[in-house]
Structure formats: structure tokens, C-alpha cells
């Protein structure tokens, strides 16, 4: 008991409160650090609302892919096909919208279904036929790009209809953004206090009310700043809204559902998970389908943003997505990772790109620095993990 008391420190905080998600905190700190450095190096241009808005828009595609990819990585697998699936689905949007003239809603639904079917194909080979995911999805990387070339005949399809323009380049009106922001803040307050109350009802110890309020104020401030900064340019980009919704849903799945817990268990120890009554094959199949779905969404968003479907769309995007997950604390060995981290990882990479472009650094430097950051991030992770054990 004495030792437990020693750990209590500032504001009655326990060390254990920090252990959880410490990696994500570190990532956010690293991200802020990168932003500060770029702000100095670009003499403030980096931190303008216009640039930040661009930065978020640029990071959306990788983020959406990373949100799906992180589940696959937690499962202990990998999906190399998402770049090609993104390209193929983007191409299908072009074909259905421009060549066929289908209405945008049906185009989107059809594309999403195709994305899931592609995921089903990958997942079936991996889960039910025992082919390693690296191989199946490497096959997909080649094959789906081939299908894209075949169906589009290698041409770039444009321009898309207005609805897609709005999706790719539109902004929410200031009013709507404000309402959403306020709504989110209200929800955060309700959620945290409700959670605290429930915990008390169960007789669990809760952190002090002061600490709780500090947490709520800080999160609310963050939300308010986000909305205000984007509003001072043109508003919240529609692309970003799509990402936020996806993040919310996937965070919910991973943290609050039985299925989510099963993903972590399988990634942590497949044999033990199976003996605990978890259906390995079904779970794997579903994860790959979800990842196909996310790749399709990314495809739709990319075509919308470019206002065109091109054959080279999403080339190499799978590697960016994997890098984002890993920078965000996911372990390729499986069992470890989270959605928020993956998105932060994607934003870190987009920040490096964006910042160095502003500085006028040549393309090759961007690649070198991103590569170094990836290795350093994982080294940091490995080094700190070894100490813990």
C-alpha cells in the first residue's frame, strides 16, 4: 500500500493514469514539436489557417487508409493492396459518374460495395485458405492496378459531377461548423461526467473532480481551436468531416465492442485467442472487408479532390498508410495500435511533406526525412518498450 501511495503525485494523479495511451500522447507532443519547428523555419507561414486547412486536406487520404490499415496491423497482418484498391475504386467512381452517368449516391454505394467485395476476396484467401496476407495483398497490389488499367483503358476520366466536387473541395458553412463544434464540446462534457458518475456508482475510484475539469477544458479548447482556425480560412473541409466520422466509428469499434477486443486478442496471441472461443477466420475476413471499404472511401475522396480518376491514383499509398500506423504506435507483430495514433501518424507525415514544400526543399529531401522519421519512431518505440519489461 505504501508504494501505491508514493505513486500519487500532482493533483492526485497516479502513474497508472498515464501509462495508458502514453504512446499517443508522445505522438501528439512530437506532432506539436514538428509544427513548432516548421513554423520557425517558414517564418510563420506554416501555422496560417490557410496552410493548416490544406495540411488537413492533404492528410485525409492517408488517414482514411490508415484507419482501416491499423485494424489489419493490430490483427498481426498487413494489406499491401489498398493503394491499388484505392486507385481501382477511384476509377470506378469516374466510370460510373462520367461515362455511365449514374447518380452520385448510387455511384458511391456501388463503389463501397466493390471495395468490400475486394476485401472479401483478400480476406477469404488469408483466413480460409491460409495464404499469408503479405502474399495475397501483394498479388492484389499488382492485380487490382491491372484491373484499373483494363477498365479505364489507361485514360484519365474527368470532370466529375458537382456532388463529388463538393465532397472533394467543399467546406462546411461557418454556422454549421460552429454548431458541430459546440455540439461536440457539449457531448464531451456530458460523456466525461456521465462516465465518472457511472464509475462512482460501481464503487470505483475516480480521478479528482479538478483533474476531470481540467481534462474537459483542455479537450474542449482543442475542439474550439480546431473549428476556429478552419473557420478563419474557409470552414471545415468536407473531406475532414468524412475522416472524423470514420475515426469516430472505428475508435468505437476498437474500444467498445466485443469484436474490437477480439482483434487485439488475435493479434496478441492467435492460439490463445482461439482457445478462448474467438472465431479467427470470421474475424480476419471481416477486418479485411472493412479495410477494403476504407480503401474504397479513400478512392472516392481522392477522385473527388482531384476532380478526376487517374490510373496512377494511390500509387504507393499502402506504404504511407502502413508507415502512418507504425509511427502512430502500432506494432507489426500485432496486438498493439490504435485508430487515433494511426491518424496522428498520417498527419505527422503530411506535416513533413507540407512543411518541407513550404521551405522549398526538393522532393527527394521529403522522402529521405519521412524515411528517417519512420525508422526513428519505431526505434523509440522499441527502446522504451524494452525498458518497460
Amino acid at each position: 500500500m505504501k508504494e501505491a501511495k508514493k505513486e500519487e503525485g500532482f493533483l492526485g494523479l497516479k502513474k497508472s493514469n498515464f501509462n495508458f495511451d502514453i504512446k499517443t500522447y508522445m505522438m501528439v507532443i512530437a506532432l506539436v514539436g514538428i509544427w513548432v519547428v516548421f513554423t520557425f523555419l517558414t517564418k510563420g507561414t506554416f501555422l496560417t489557417s490557410r496552410n493548416l486547412s490544406n495540411l488537413f486536406r492533404q492528410s485525409v487520404i492517408t488517414s482514411v487508409l490508415a484507419v482501416g490499415m491499423v485494424l489489419v496491423i493490430i490483427l498481426g497482418e498487413v494489406d499491401l493492396s489498398v493503394g491499388s484498391v484505392l486507385g481501382l475504386c477511384g476509377g470506378i467512381v469516374g466510370i460510373l459518374d462520367v461515362w455511365v452517368g449514374l447518380n452520385p449516391f448510387l455511384t458511391i454505394v456501388s463503389t463501397l460495395v466493390i471495395g468490400m467485395l475486394i476485401g472479401l476476396w483478400n480476406g477469404w484467401w488469408i483466413a480460409y485458405r491460409g495464404v499469408p496476407s503479405l502474399i495475397v495483398t501483394l498479388g492484389g497490389l499488382l492485380g487490382f492496378r491491372g484491373v484499373l488499367l483494363g477498365v479505364t483503358g489507361g485514360t484519365t476520366i474527368s470532370p466529375l459531377s458537382k456532388a463529388f466536387n463538393y465532397l472533394g473541395s467543399g467546406y462546411l458553412p461557418e454556422m454549421v461548423s460552429n454548431v458541430l463544434g459546440l455540439g461536440l464540446i457539449a457531448y464531451i462534457i456530458y460523456y466525461r461526467l456521465h462516465k465518472r458518475k457511472k464509475k462512482k456508482e460501481h464503487g470505483f475510484e475516480v480521478s479528482s473532480l479538478t483533474l476531470e475539469i481540467i481534462k474537459i477544458v483542455l479537450t474542449s479548447l482543442l475542439v474550439a481551436m480546431f473549428v476556429m482556425i478552419l473557420n478563419s480560412y474557409q470552414g471545415i473541409p468536407v473531406l475532414v468531416i468524412v475522416l472524423l466520422v470514420a475515426m469516430a466509428i472505428f475508435t468505437y469499434i476498437t474500444k467498445n465492442t466485443v469484436f474490437g477486443r477480439h482483434i487485439y486478442a488475435i493479434g496478441g496471441n492467435e492460439e490463445a485467442a482461439e482457445l478462448s472461443g474467438i472465431e479467427l477466420k470470421k474475424s480476419k475476413l471481416i477486418i479485411f472487408m472493412l479495410n477494403g471499404l476504407m480503401a474504397a472511401i479513400a478512392g472516392i475522396l481522392l477522385s473527388s479532390r482531384l476532380n478526376a480518376a487517374s490510373v496512377s491514383a494511390g500509387d504507393g499509398a499502402e506504404l504511407d498508410a502502413i508507415a502512418a500506423c507504425v509511427i502512430g504506435g502500432a506494432s507489426l507483430a500485432g496486438g498493439i495500435g490504435n485508430v487515433l495514433g494511426a491518424v496522428v501518424g498520417a498527419v505527422v507525415m503530411a506535416s513533413l511533406d507540407n512543411g518541407m514544400s513550404l521551405m522549398g526543399a526538393p522532393m527527394y529531401w521529403q522522402q529521405i526525412v519521412k524515411g528517417l522519421v519512420l525508422v526513428l519512431a519505431v526505434w523509440f518505440d522499441v527502446a522504451t518498450r524494452n525498458k518497460g519489461e
Binding site: 460501481h202 467498445n256 486478442a265
Partner: protein
């Protein structure tokens, strides 16, 4: 007289356990010396000391080779002194061929280039010597049966020109005819002056092959003599003759109706479809009963229970009845839904999710219970986990602690909690106290007792005889996949000798 190999007062401690306690042991030159003992008696640990796996200074005492003390800091140094070990688990490289395996680490080279012609020629000689039929130097080891692979291992040791050859239960995976060949080879080697230390718990082999025998029990050497001076009964007595020094909670249970019935149950070896790992097993299990499964390692106990639980890949035949209804179990999920739980013998591999904390591990098998519409009710989960953690007295700083940081005993309790949370009618425990300290063992015995009082039907596999006898109401002994004996243990306790006799195939 001078011994070729001698140990003096070897003490080896593992965290919480003394594996070897003042072991002194002498081997004469040119003999085949058998090292006998129950599972966990310390045989393998002693071998590891002799062969440098446990380096000098990690143990106390002396290892003497021809009268001079040896301080091996690794296996290579032992090999330089011409001590070679053939381990129980095969260490062949399956995808390489016979020659590559035999000469692994001892490749013949000139100026850094491997002399394949010479190696293939020499390998041919070994193949003939070991009477390996239908094997040529280029045969992939993968395509050979377990027995032949074992013989390849022996060739690998002989290539090193060993003076002392240590074999750790080499016949476990051999057929009778392969065993014959092995014995012939060992007899030939003896004639050539090679000294063998032969570890086994099969007494027939001791009498057929060996010159002397040393018996280990609970990490102590309890006796050593020439085989000619001994009878089987003497050795069995030495192996098990301890006072039961662990205390067991008193057993008082009302045994109820039959819960589980297994009829004509056979399981095929998945790697070798012609062989059965479990053959024609019949038994029943009653509510509130503790049924002990005894037998030697490899007797098919683990395969039997895993197969019942739907977790063994080998083809099975036979019928299982739960409360009189025939059930089909094809996966662990089915078994859990039917009310059967299994605590596996290897908790690291089959029990724990190392990346998860105590809470997530504990609730894993019963997560569905905390489902509210789509969500998990975290608070309910935490309450329930805390209940079990308290009830089983798991010592952890917090339920958010990673399981990998707990001690063995506490990890085992977490695995038990996980299984109990599914509220099983039938609880199968496979070596539930392996590798945990005495205190935690007693707590687990108490828990078994308490559960059986609540009417849970329990199967407990254990290789420790006192444990089986101390905890079970009834004991089934398996030998080579078949039931070799059944003992009522409820009124008077069965003697360890009787069980050992049944398990070793004696009478």
C-alpha cells in the same frame, strides 16, 4: 577409483524452485548409465549443467571430467571436451538433407570451401552404421519419420567424436524396431569405449540396456547402483518413495450425476495419419468429481482433452455426451458454449495474450456477457474481473497491469479466472500447477476443491503423482494413448507405485 564424469553437490535454483539439491553423481568410463526419475525430478536440469547450457556460476557445486573440474560457460566448451547431448526435442533442420544435418556445425572444409564430396561419402558411412534403410545422403530430413530423424540426431552427435554421449529420453518418438536399432548402436558404442548417460523413465529400457542407474527425485539423487543389483520394484520405490510433503486440502465432496461421457474415443496423430495418439478411450465424469489423468509425458493425455475441447487438429472418432445429450464440438467456441473450459498446459502459448492487461485477459472468453446492445459495458466488466481477481487472490498492482509482468503463479490464476468466468460445467485442467511456486499450488488445489463442491466436474491432468493422488477422487492412467488403469482414490489413497507401474507398462 577415477570416474570419467562426476558431479559434486550441484545446486541449481530457479526463481522460487530448487531444481537440483546437492546432486552428486558418478559415471564410470565405458558404461551406459541410466538417469531415472519422474517428470520434473531434475534430470533435464542436470544434463543442462553437464553440457554447459546452464553455464558455470549459474549453479553451485563441481562438475569433474576425469578428475579435473570443468567450468563450461557455453555448449561449445562442453563439446570441445567431447560431451555431446541429444535432446528430447528434435533439433533437426527439416528442409536440409541428411548430410547437411549430420555435419551441421562440423562441416568439412578446405580453405573455407565445403568439401561436399567428402561429406556425402562420410554421411553414407553413418547411414550404413545406423542401419537407416531407404535413406541416402541427399534425402531431405523432412521426408523421414520421427524415429529416423532421431537417429540422424544421434549421427550428428557421433560426428563430433563424442566421448560422453548424453541421450534425453531418446525412444519417446521411436517405434519398437527403431528402438532396437538404437540399442544395437549404443551397445556397439559401448564396445568402442564411448560412455553414455541415458535418461529415461521407462524401466524396461534400464534393464535391457544400462549398466548402472542413478535415480533423481525432487532434485536430489536418492540412489545409485549397478542394475544387476536391483529389481524394477526398487527403482520405482526410489522414484516415488517420498513422503507426500506438499499438503493438500481435505477432500469432501458429494459426487452427483454423470455430466460428461466419452465413448470409444480415438484421435489420430495429425502428422502421421497411420498412428493413434488416443485409442479407444472410454470414461465418464460426474458432477463434483475430480478425475485425475496420470501417465507419462507423451501418453496422449493432452491430445485427448484438447481433442474433446475442439482444439486438436488430428482426426477424431467416438462419441461425447454432455448430460446425456450427444454433442458435436468442432471448435473451442463450441466447447465453451456447451459449458466446457480448458486450461492448457502451456499458459504462455495457449493461455495468455501478452499484449493485453490482466483485465482484458480475464474477461476474454466471457466478453459476450458484458455486451449491452453493441457496446461493452466496461464498468460491469471491471467489477466482474475484480471479483475473480479477489476470489482467486491474484497478486497484481492493478487490473491494468500487463499479464506478462506477473509471476507464473499469478499468470496461471489469471488463466483460471478467464476460464471460470465462462461458468463451465466441466473444467479441464492440464498441468495446472506446472512451474508455479508451492504457495500458489496450494491455492489452486483449494480452488479445485471449492469448485468441485459447487458441482463443477473437473478433469485434472498432472504428471506429479502426489498431486494426482492428493487432489483426485478417481484416477485414470493413460499409457501410449490407451487407458492402462483406473483407480478409485476417494476412500483410501492409491499408492504411487501402482500408478507408476500402470504408466510404465509394468505389472
Amino acid at each position: 577409483m577415477e570416474y570419467i564424469l562426476e558431479t559434486k553437490d550441484i545446486i541449481k535454483d530457479f526463481p522460487g524452485v530448487r531444481a537440483l539439491d546437492h546432486v552428486s553423481f558418478q559415471v564410470e568410463e565405458g558404461e551406459i548409465h541410466s538417469l531415472c526419475g519422474e517428470n520434473g525430478a531434475g534430470k533435464s536440469t542436470l544434463i543442462k549443467v553437464l553440457s554447459g547450457v546452464h553455464p558455470y556460476k549459474s549453479y553451485e557445486g563441481q562438475v569433474l571430467l576425469k578428475g579435473t573440474e570443468q567450468k563450461f560457460s557455453n555448449i561449445n566448451e562442453a563439446e570441445e571436451q567431447r560431451i555431446a547431448v541429444i535432446h528430447q526435442e528434435l533439433t533437426v533442420f527439416e528442409d536440409l538433407n541428411v548430410t547437411e544435418n549430420i555435419f551441421m556445425g562440423n562441416e568439412i572444409e578446405t580453405n573455407g570451401i565445403i568439401d561436399w564430396d567428402l561429406m556425402y561419402k562420410k554421411a553414407e558411412k553413418w547411414i550404413n552404421k545406423l542401419k537407416l534403410e531407404n535413406v541416402n545422403p541427399r534425402t531431405k530430413v523432412k521426408s523421414l519419420g520421427m524415429g529416423k530423424q532421431q537417429l540422424i540426431e544421434i549421427a550428428k552427435a557421433l560426428v563430433k567424436d563424442a566421448e560422453i554421449l548424453i541421450l534425453d529420453e531418446p525412444t519417446d518418438s521411436l517405434t519398437d524396431s527403431e528402438t532396437e536399432i538404437l540399442f544395437d548402436i549404443l551397445n556397439d558404442l559401448r564396445d568402442e569405449g564411448v560412455t553414455c548417460i541415458y535418461i529415461t523413465h521407462k524401466l524396461d529400457e534400464v534393464f535391457e540396456l544400462c549398466d548402472s542407474v542413478t535415480v533423481l527425485r525432487d532434485g536430489e539423487s536418492v540412489g545409485s547402483d549397478k542394475v544387476n543389483n536391483l529389481e524394477k520394484r526398487d527403482i520405482v520405490q526410489m522414484m516415488v518413495g517420498r513422503e507426500i510433503n506438499q499438503r493438500f486440502p481435505e477432500r469432501k465432496t458429494d459426487i452427483g450425476e454423470t455430466v460428461l461421457e466419452v465413448k470409444d474415443y480415438s484421435v489420430v496423430d495429425p502428422e502421421n495419419p497411420d498412428q493413434f495418439v488416443v485409442k479407444d478411450v472410454n470414461f465418464e465424469l460426474k458432477a463434483g468429481e475430480v478425475l485425475g489423468f496420470s501417465g507419462l509425458v507423451g501418453a496422449g493425455r493432452t491430445e485427448l482433452v484438447n481433442s474433446i475441447f475442439g482444439a486438436f487438429p488430428g482426426e477424431k472418432s467416438g462419441e461425447i455426451y454432455l448430460e446425456g445429450n450427444k454433442i458435436e464440438i468442432t471448435s473451442p467456441k463450441d466447447a465453451i458454449n456447451q459449458g466446457i473450459a480448458l486450461v492448457s498446459e502451456d499458459r504462455k502459448r495457449f493461455g495468455l495474450i501478452p499484449t493485453m492487461d490482466v483485465k482484458e485477459n480475464t474477461s476474454l472468453a466471457a466478453l459476450q456477457d458484458f455486451k449491452e446492445s453493441l457496446s461493452l459495458n466496461h464498468n460491469q466488466e471491471i467489477s466482474k474481473v475484480r471479483d475473480y481477481i479477489d476470489k482467486l487472490n491474484v497478486k497484481t498492482p492493478s487490473i491494468r497491469e500487463k499479464v506478462s509482468k506477473l509471476s507464473g503463479g499469478n499468470q496461471q490464476k489469471v488463466v483460471l479466472s478467464k476460464n471460470l468466468m465462462t461458468q463451465p460445467e466441466v473444467l479441464i485442467l492440464d498441468e495446472p500447477t506446472r512451474g508455479i511456486d508451492v504457495g500458489a499450488k496450494y491455492e489452486i488445489y483449494k480452488l479445485i476443491q471449492e469448485l468441485s463442491k459447487q458441482g463443477v466436474a473437473i478433469i485434472m491432468i498432472s504428471s506429479e503423482l502426489p498431486e494426482v493422488i492428493g487432489v483426485s477422487d478417481r484416477i485414470l492412467v493413460l499409457s501410449q494413448g490407451e487407458i492402462a488403469g483406473e483407480f478409485d482414490n476417494s476412500e483410501t489413497r492409491v499408492s504411487q507405485e501402482k500408478i507408476m507401474m500402470a504408466a510404465t507398462g509394468g505389472n
